[in-house]
Symmetry: C2
Subunit: 160 residues, 2 copies
DNA sequence: TTAAGATTTAAAGTGAACTTTAAGAAAGGA
DNA sequence: TCCTTTCTTAAAGTTCACTTTAAATCTTAA
């Protein structure tokens, strides 16, 4: 079964120009062309696109993904470098999840804060609540937040 | 205690031009100026910066954060809108964490795959492993990944 | 008072990832 | 065959969040 770029766009939700852009950047080297130069996508190409989406979600840039694809094409001699790339990216995602979880703590606190502000009619009234009047889970979050100061934001490190 | 922009830059890790940029965009409306027009930061300004960093980490854009600050300045009449903003953003972060967790599954699988490829000397050899030869946690991940197809990527929805 | 170093501004430049435009070629149904 | 739709390309435009530049002004130690 072969798909045109329009089919693939519909199935993936990616705009056709984006698919052409990925192709131009070397992210889709396995897509064949028909006689008239028209791209013919196969199921395996859709699988590559799923992997690309996932790597993008993990924080890799287009050029990093291209690097990976180039390594893939080179074959088994690049296994070690690909392995290292995935380990590095796994660490990045683990770190990112941790950061988002502490961001979530703050948002949970803010949601509670504004729930109370709605209830009490002002933000001042919430600030005037004593420590004992806070629900336990909010106390816990506040304690946690006080520990975190400026998270030294790690630069998005490339899959080296 | 008052801080110059250089002090704040050092303490937060944010470059001074970035702080000026935030100020210009209206994210730091509480920073005072000395006689010569030089910014004098207070502890409360550092707290605002921490909140800004957090909201940025949650996926809010500069203009969304400005919107929040404008609402804050308007006072208690905007409590409800601020509440809704935080709830929406909390949902965004929860969704983002879920997405990263499935991304992490894929990366965990890939790390295992390339560990095996190193061990066996080729990627083909790993592909030829039978279902029974896979460790349980990898089987589990593979089963999970088969369910997820194209995650309909939600647009970064603004705090409405 | 003077020199060095930090701060100010506006404006231009950057990099990433698309997105849009324009003009032309191919595919597929009536 | 014709017509409409979909495809092709290259090139220019967009958005976001800074970053850099340049020239002027302020602060501070000698």
């Amino acid at each position: 079964m072969l798909y045109t770029i329009g089919d693939v766009s519909e199935r993936t939700g990616l705009p056709a120009p984006t698919l052409r852009y990925y192709d131009k950047e070397g992210l889709l080297p396995f897509v064949n062309r028909g006689s008239g130069g028209i791209r013919k996508f196969q199921e395996t190409d859709l699988e590559w696109l799923r992997l690309i989406e996932c790597l993008k979600a993990s924080g890799l840039q287009i050029k990093d993904i291209k690097r990976y694809i180039d390594l893939f094409i080179q074959g088994d001699s690049t296994i070690e470098e690909r392995r290292q790339m995935f380990y590095a990216q796994k660490e990045n995602v683990e770190r990112e999840i941790k950061m988002l979880q502490s961001t979530l703590d703050l948002l949970t606190y803010k949601c509670w804060f504004y729930d109370m502000a709605v209830e009490l009619g002002s933000t001042e009234a919430v600030k005037n609540l004593t420590e004992e009047q806070l629900p336990p889970h909010i106390k816990k979050i506040k304690a946690k937040m006080n520990k975190v100061q400026y998270a030294t934001k790690k630069k998005k490190d490339c899959a080296a």
